[in-house]
C-alpha cells in the first residue's frame, strides 16, 4: 500500500505542551530525525490543552502530543467539536505524580497519620477529609489538568483508594500545568496531579511533597500519544509514517543510557525556560542500573519511559483502561458500549504503528490487547 518514495521537505506543524514528556519532539528536531525522514517540522508550544485541541481540530496543527483519551473524546464529540482523531503511537509510559501542599502534609503528620506509602497517605487523607467535614471546614481544593486527562483519572483512582469520593468530598478543578506550582504556592490549591517537571518544581521550591506517581497507581500505564486528524492521515499516509518513525527513533534515543541530561537541556532551552534545568533533569532521570525499580520509583515518582517495554505500541487495552475509569465516574454517560468500542477501534491504530516499527526493524507485538491493571493496589 505504501510506496518507498522519499518525501521531500513535507511541511508539518506539530503541537506540544510545556512538559518533560514533550521530549520526543524536541529530540527528533535537535537530532535531525524529522529532516532525515523527509519532514520539515515547526514545533508550536501550546498554552493549554484546550488550545492544542482546537489547533489540531481546525487544522492549524497536523499532529500533536496528546493526552491518551483525546483522540477518542475528540472523535466522540465530547472534547471540542466532533473531529475524528487517531493515534498510532504511544509517546511514553508514566511521567505524572500527585503532589500535596507542604501545609496539608504538616497537618496530616500532626493528626498522627503514618505517611510512609502512597496508599497510606491516600488513607490518611481520607480520614482528614472526613474530619474536615465534621468540623465544617471548606473542602480541599485539588487540581488535575484538562477534563479528559490521565491526570484526572489517576487522581480520582488514588482518592477513591483512600476512601474519598472525588465528586462530593473534595473540590476538583482543572488547572493547566504551568500554573500548578504557583497556585499551590499561593494557597489556591491543596494538591494536584500533573506531569513533570511541575511536581519536581513544587518540591524544589519547598511548596509541596510528591505523594504518588503514575506507576504507583497504574504501573507502566500509558501517558501521552501522538494524535493526528484521521482525514490528514488518510491523505498523507507517507508523512504520517515518517512522523511515527522520527518520533520512534527519538524515543529509542531517550531510553539509551546517558542521554536524558542532554534532553533536559534541550527542553529547558526550547519550551521550559522558566523551570531551572536541574529541576527538569531530576524529573527526567532514568532508572539507574544499580537501583531496583522499586527504589527508583520511590525516589522519582514521575519516572518516564519513552521506549522500553514496548512503550510505543498503542495498545487498545491501554485506552480501554481509561475508558473504564471514565465509565466508573459516569463521564461517558449516554454513549452506548458498542459506539465506545467501535470508536476505540477506529482511533487507536496498532496496524499503522506496526508498519512504521517494522520498517525500522523493531519487534512488534502481534496482538492489539492485553490484560491491564492487574497489579496490587497503589503503594502495595
Amino acid at each position: 500500500m505504501l510506496s518507498d518514495a522519499p518525501l521531500n521537505d513535507h511541511q508539518l506543524t506539530l503541537g506540544l505542551m510545556p512538559l518533560n514528556d514533550a521530549a520526543p519532539f524536541v529530540v527528533a528536531e535537535q537530532l535531525g530525525f524529522f529532516q532525515e525522514e523527509g519532514l520539515s517540522v515547526t514545533l508550536k508550544w501550546q498554552p493549554s490543552w484546550a488550545a492544542l485541541r482546537d489547533d489540531l481540530q481546525t487544522g492549524v496543527l497536523q499532529g500533536a502530543q496528546m493526552l491518551a483519551l483525546m483522540p477518542l473524546t475528540s472523535t466522540l464529540g465530547l472534547d471540542g467539536r466532533a473531529t475524528p482523531v487517531i493515534s498510532a503511537m504511544t509517546l511514553n509510559l508514566g511521567g505524572n505524580a500527585i503532589t500535596l501542599s507542604r501545609a496539608l502534609m504538616t497537618r496530616l503528620a500532626e493528626e498522627g497519620h503514618v505517611l510512609d506509602s502512597s496508599l497510606g497517605i491516600a488513607c490518611a487523607l481520607g480520614e482528614h477529609v472526613r474530619q474536615r467535614r465534621q468540623r465544617g471546614e471548606a473542602p480541599l481544593r485539588l487540581a488535575s489538568v484538562h477534563p479528559f486527562s490521565s491526570h484526572r483519572y489517576l487522581l480520582r483512582y488514588w482518592l477513591a483508594a483512600g476512601g474519598i469520593d472525588p465528586d462530593s468530598q473534595v473540590d476538583m478543578r482543572a488547572v493547566a500545568p504551568p500554573l500548578m506550582a504557583a497556585q499551590l504556592a499561593s494557597g489556591i490549591l491543596d494538591g494536584f496531579c500533573v506531569g513533570e517537571p511541575w511536581n519536581s518544581l513544587a518540591s524544589a521550591q519547598g511548596m509541596g511533597q510528591v505523594v504518588a506517581g503514575s506507576h504507583d497507581i497504574w504501573r507502566f500505564g500509558q501517558e501521552k500519544v501522538l494524535g493526528v486528524r484521521e482525514d490528514w492521515a488518510q491523505q498523507h499516509p507517507l508523512a504520517h509514517q515518517a512522523l511515527i518513525r522520527s518520533l520512534l527513533r527519538a524515543c529509542a534515543w531517550l531510553d539509551r543510557p546517558g542521554n536524558r541530561q542532554q534532553a533536559a537541556s534541550w527542553l529547558h532551552d526550547e519550551g521550559l525556560p522558566e523551570v531551572p534545568l536541574s529541576v527538569i533533569a531530576h524529573g527526567l532521570e532514568d532508572v539507574d542500573v544499580e537501583q531496583s525499580v522499586e527504589d527508583y520509583q520511590q525516589a522519582n515518582a514521575g519516572w518516564t519511559i519513552f521506549h522500553r517495554y514496548a512503550a510505543n505500541f498503542p495498545w487498545r487495552s491501554h485506552t480501554r483502561w481509561y475508558v473504564s475509569q471514565m465509565q466508573r465516574w459516569g463521564h461517558l454517560h449516554g454513549i452506548s458500549e458498542h459506539d465506545i468500542a467501535a470508536t476505540l477501534t477506529r482511533c487507536v491504530r496498532p496496524d499503522l504503528y506496526r508498519i512504521a516499527a517494522r520498517s525500522l526493524g523493531l519487534v512488534v507485538p502481534a496482538v492489539d490487547e492485553r490484560s491491564e491493571g492487574n497489579h496490587p493496589a497503589p503503594g502495595g
Partner: protein, 207 residues
C-alpha cells in the same frame, strides 16, 4: 436583567479598554481577572453569562473543566486570538460553544460580539440537547433495525445472528453501528430502489 461578562486577561491595558467598551454597551462586567487568581472559584461565585478570555492563556483548561461539569456551565466563551489567525477564527466560528475573535476589538463591535456569542451558544446548546437525545437516537435505532432486517432476509439469519453480523462488520470497518446501517441502506436504495435483497453485499463492501 443585565448581561454579566467576566474578562480573563493578563494584558491590563487591553482588558481595561474591553471593560470600558462593554460597560458603555450596557453590559455588566463582573470582574477582570488574571492568571494569579482562583478562576474556578470566581466563576462559580459570579456565574457570568459569558466569558471573554485570551486564547493564549493556560486558564482555558479551567474553563473547559467547568464546562464539562455542566452544572451552571457551559457558558458562551469568546476567545481573543492575539496572533493573525484568520483560519482559526473562521473555522472556530462554526464550533458553537466557543467563538474566536481577533485581538483588536472595536468598541462599536463589542455588543454584537457578546450577543452573537450568547445567541449562537444558546442555539447550539438547544439544538445539541434535543437533537442528540431524541431525534438522533431514534433515527439511528430505526436505521439499525432496518439494516438488521435486511441482513436477516439476505443471509437467512435469525435476529440475534444478524445483529452480531452487523456489530462485527462495523467493528472491522471502524464504523459506528448506525453509520454502517446507513451505508447499507443507502447502497440498497441505489441498487434496488428500496427493496430488500442483495443489499448486504453492496453495503458491507470489503472487510
Amino acid at each position: 436583567m443585565p448581561v454579566t461578562v467576566l474578562i480573563v486577561d493578563v494584558r491590563s491595558e487591553r482588558s481595561a479598554a474591553l471593560e470600558q467598551a462593554l460597560l458603555s454597551a450596557g453590559f455588566e462586567v463582573a470582574l477582570r481577572v488574571d492568571e494569579r487568581e482562583d478562576l474556578h472559584a470566581l466563576v462559580e461565585l459570579h456565574q457570568p453569562d459569558a466569558v471573554i478570555i485570551d486564547a493564549d492563556l493556560p486558564s482555558r483548561d479551567t474553563l473547559e473543566h467547568l464546562g464539562q461539569l455542566g452544572r451552571r456551565y457551559p457558558k458562551p466563551m469568546i476567545m481573543l486570538a492575539s496572533e493573525d489567525a484568520p483560519d482559526l477564527v473562521r473555522e472556530a466560528a462554526g464550533a458553537g460553544v466557543s467563538a474566536y475573535v481577533v485581538d483588536h476589538v472595536m468598541p462599536a463591535m463589542v455588543r454584537t460580539m457578546v450577543e452573537v456569542a450568547i445567541t449562537s451558544f444558546e442555539a447550539h446548546r438547544a439544538l445539541k440537547g434535543e437533537l442528540n437525545r431524541t431525534q438522533t437516537t431514534l433515527v439511528q435505532r430505526r436505521s439499525v433495525d432496518r439494516a438488521k432486517a435486511l441482513v436477516m432476509e439476505s443471509r437467512g439469519l435469525g435476529e440475534d445472528a444478524a445483529y452480531q453480523y452487523l456489530r462485527k462488520t462495523a467493528m472491522n470497518r471502524r464504523l459506528a453501528l448506525h453509520e454502517l446501517a446507513d451505508e447499507m441502506l443507502k447502497a440498497t436504495r441505489r441498487t434496488e430502489g428500496g427493496c430488500s435483497g442483495a443489499g448486504s453485499s453492496a453495503g458491507s463492501g470489503r472487510h
